[in-house]
């Protein structure tokens, strides 16, 4: 039986770990709330932009824009959105595993490329074979719409220059605090739904076709913004769950250690009494 001092030290360390995991859980919960609020704030913009895009597309009739162009796919770019930090359960590893699978399953003759957003994905893939065309790390601590616009600008450049023929976003969607859903969504070529009745008398300034040139990049940016926010909220949700179970486990461990501690203490006392009684018996 381990001695009392050792058990006591062990209890102390488990307790302080539990305090840390508990604090991390609380921080994650607060950050998750902030992220979900940001998702809510982004919604009206997204809805209205979608509506306007459909209207402009309907007005343009013939849809002709570099971002809509379907080409034979020779190079496919996977935009992998992971977290910057770990300690969030399977959040990063599931995404990375899925991306590896997507890369493996890329048909012969098609070259897979990577765009890593978030440190975890980058750290994993930078030592592997798939070329990384671009990476962006350390953004989630101070997430800003300009991150979405700079990723968007780069993706549009790559696509219009013909350096990639298809862009797929691999990320976790925030469903609820305890549920993340993995997605692999095609971003480019962009598919537009022509929507809304084409108001005959609407004035397009300068014309519907060039409005698409403004609206499509704006839409790509807002999709990316949503993906970044979703991923961030999902990360915090995953961390919250992971830290909660870590806290629970620590509690369980503490219970067992305390039991062990009390048993050892009891045993020590019993032994002491036995020794005293034995000693007294020897004297009399």
């Amino acid at each position: 039986m381990p001695n009392l001092k050792q058990i006591k030290r062990r209890i102390g360390s488990v307790k302080s770990t539990q305090q840390i995991t508990k604090a991390m859980k609380m921080v994650a919960a607060a950050k998750m709330r902030k992220a979900t609020e940001a998702i809510e704030r982004a919604r009206p913009y997204a809805e209205r932009l979608g509506e306007v895009l459909g209207r402009a597309a309907a007005g343009a009739g013939d849809l002709d824009h570099p971002l809509l162009e379907q080409r034979e796919v020779k190079k496919v770019l996977f935009v992998l959105v992971t977290a910057d930090r770990g300690l969030c359960g399977g959040f990063n590893s599931n995404l990375i595993r899925r991306t590896q699978q997507l890369i493996r399953e890329t048909p012969a003759g098609v070259e897979p490329l990577l765009y890593c957003v978030g440190r975890k994905g980058y750290d994993f893939f930078k030592r592997r074979d798939t070329p990384i065309v671009e990476h962006l790390t350390g953004l989630f601590n101070d997430l800003d719409f300009s991150h979405a616009t700079s990723i968007g600008a780069r993706l549009r450049e790559l696509y219009t220059a013909g350096e990639v023929d298809r862009v797929v976003l691999v990320f976790n969607e925030f469903k609820s605090a305890v549920q993340q859903v993995m997605h692999e969504d095609e971003l480019l070529p962009f598919s537009v739904e022509q929507g809304g009745e084409a108001h005959g008398e609407t004035i397009f300034e300068p014309d519907a076709e060039s409005l698409l040139g403004t609206l499509l990049p704006m839409t790509v940016n807002r999709v990316l913004w949503r993906v970044l926010l979703d991923s961030y909220a999902a990360e915090q949700g995953a961390r919250m769950t992971a830290m909660e179970s870590a806290t629970d486990n620590a509690g369980e461990m503490l219970g067992q250690l305390t039991l062990q501690y009390n048993r050892s203490r009891q045993a020590a006392i019993t032994q002491e009494i036995a020794e005293i009684v034995g000693g007294a018996a020897a004297i009399s």
């Binding site: 940001a38 913009y45 600008a153 008398e201 409005l211």
Partner: protein
Amino acid sequence: MSDNTFALEIVTPTGGVVYERRASHLSVPGEDGSFGILAHHADLMAALGIGRVHVDEEGGQATELALAQGFIQVEEGRVRILAEAAELVDRIDVERARDAEKRARERLEKHESDTDMARAELALKRAINRIALAKV
């Protein structure tokens, strides 16, 4: 009275509906120069550039906002501006704009690839626009 005003809303991805008011006159930065909107305007869709939005509100008060890229839609007399960023003039973070200006200028001086140049130029324009409007 109400005949000469129209409903105006400005929506951004980070702030939701950042401005919602009835207005009597609106001036926006179109891509080829600014233009004005009054009540009973015909249905319109137009791209907006970087610049100043001026609103004469119902009741005579005037408000200005800094706009960075966007879009205006007029439909059945309602006016809606979608912008990637729009800030009321008195809420502009001048320090941040100055930082952005400095960064953009540094990037322009280094002169890397053409695409980076184009982006830096846009960033510079946005920063200058914010600073200029905040001073008013």
